[in-house]
C-alpha cells in the first residue's frame, strides 16, 4: 500500500485503483460459504445522476 495512509487527504484515483487491484488478488481464491441468506437478483449500481455528481467531485482526476 502506498504512503497515502499517512497523509491528511483523500486517496487519489491511482491509489484507489492500486488498492482495488491488490484486494482482487488477495481474494482470487476466496471460497464463498455455501448458503448465503440472499435472494437471486441482487444488484449493485450507482445511478447515472449520482455518477454525474461524483464526476464533479473527482474534478480533474480522470476516471
Amino acid at each position: 500500500m502506498s504512503n497515502f495512509c499517512q497523509e491528511y487527504r483523500p486517496a487519489t484515483l491511482s491509489e484507489v485503483s492500486g488498492l482495488l487491484k491488490d484486494i482482487d488478488k488477495q481474494f482470487a481464491n476466496f471460497e464463498p460459504r455455501q448458503k448465503p441468506h440472499a435472494p437471486d437478483g441482487l444488484t449493485n449500481s450507482t445511478s447515472p445522476e449520482v455518477c454525474s455528481y461524483l464526476e464533479t467531485v473527482l474534478g480533474g482526476e480522470q476516471s
Binding site: M1, F4, C5, Q6, E7, Y8, R9, P10, A11, T12, L13, V16, S17, L19, L20, I23, D24, Q26, F27, F30, P32, R33, P36, A38, D40, G41, L42, T43, N44, S45, T46, S47, E49, V50, C51, S52, Y53, L54, E55, V57, L58, E61, S63
Partner: protein, 171 residues
C-alpha cells in the same frame, strides 16, 4: 464512470465533509489531523475488503460499485475505530459527516431534490452511535446505515412506486 472513479469520488466527498466538520469544531491541530488521516485510510481499506467479501459471498450482479454501500461501510469502520480509541466526539463527527455525504448522493437521485430530513438523519446517527456504545440493542451498524439510504433511494427513484398495503407484503 468506472468502479475506481465511484470509489475514489465517494471517499473524496466524505473526506471533504469530514474536513468541514473538523474546521467547524476548531479541531485542526496536527495531532487530530494525523489521527483522522490514519484511521480514515485504514477504515477505507477495511470497507473495500469487506465489499470484496460481500460481492463474493452473496449472489450480487455488480453492474458497478454502489456508492451508498462503499461510503456507508467506510463511515462505520471509521466511527468504530475512533470510538475504540476513546475518541467518541470524533466518532460522532465521522457519523454526521458520513450522513451528510450519503444524503448529498440521495439529493442527486432523479427525479427531484428530495432527501432525508434532519430528524431522520438524527435518528440514524443516534442509532449508529448506540451500536458503538452499550446500547447495541437500540442500534444499527454498517448494513443498517447502508439500507437506510438504499431504501430511501429505491422509493425516491421508483417511477412506478405505489403504496403497498401490509397484506400484500411478503413479510
Amino acid at each position: 464512470m468506472d468502479n475506481q472513479g465511484i470509489v475514489t469520488a465517494g471517499q473524496k466527498d466524505y473526506f471533504r465533509n469530514l474536513d468541514i466538520w473538523l474546521k467547524s469544531q476548531s479541531l485542526i491541530d496536527i495531532d487530530v489531523r494525523g489521527l483522522i488521516a490514519e484511521h480514515f485510510h485504514a477504515a477505507f481499506v477495511e470497507a473495500q475488503i469487506h465489499h470484496q467479501k460481500h460481492i463474493l459471498e452473496l449472489p450480487i450482479d455488480e453492474k458497478c460499485r454502489e456508492v451508498y454501500k462503499t461510503v456507508s461501510w467506510h463511515v462505520w469502520y471509521l466511527a468504530y475505530r475512533l470510538h475504540a480509541r476513546g475518541e467518541m466526539e470524533l466518532a460522532l463527527g465521522a457519523i454526521s459527516s458520513g450522513l451528510k455525504t450519503l444524503n448529498s448522493f440521495l439529493l442527486h437521485e432523479a427525479p427531484n431534490d428530495a432527501c432525508l430530513d434532519e430528524p431522520t438523519l438524527k435518528l440514524i446517527g443516534t442509532m449508529v452511535a448506540n451500536e458503538l456504545e452499550t446500547l447495541a440493542d437500540h442500534g444499527i451498524a454498517k448494513n443498517g446505515l447502508y439500507l437506510s439510504f438504499k431504501a430511501a433511494r429505491t422509493m425516491k427513484s421508483s417511477r412506478e412506486f405505489k403504496v403497498q398495503s401490509i397484506q400484500s407484503s411478503n413479510f
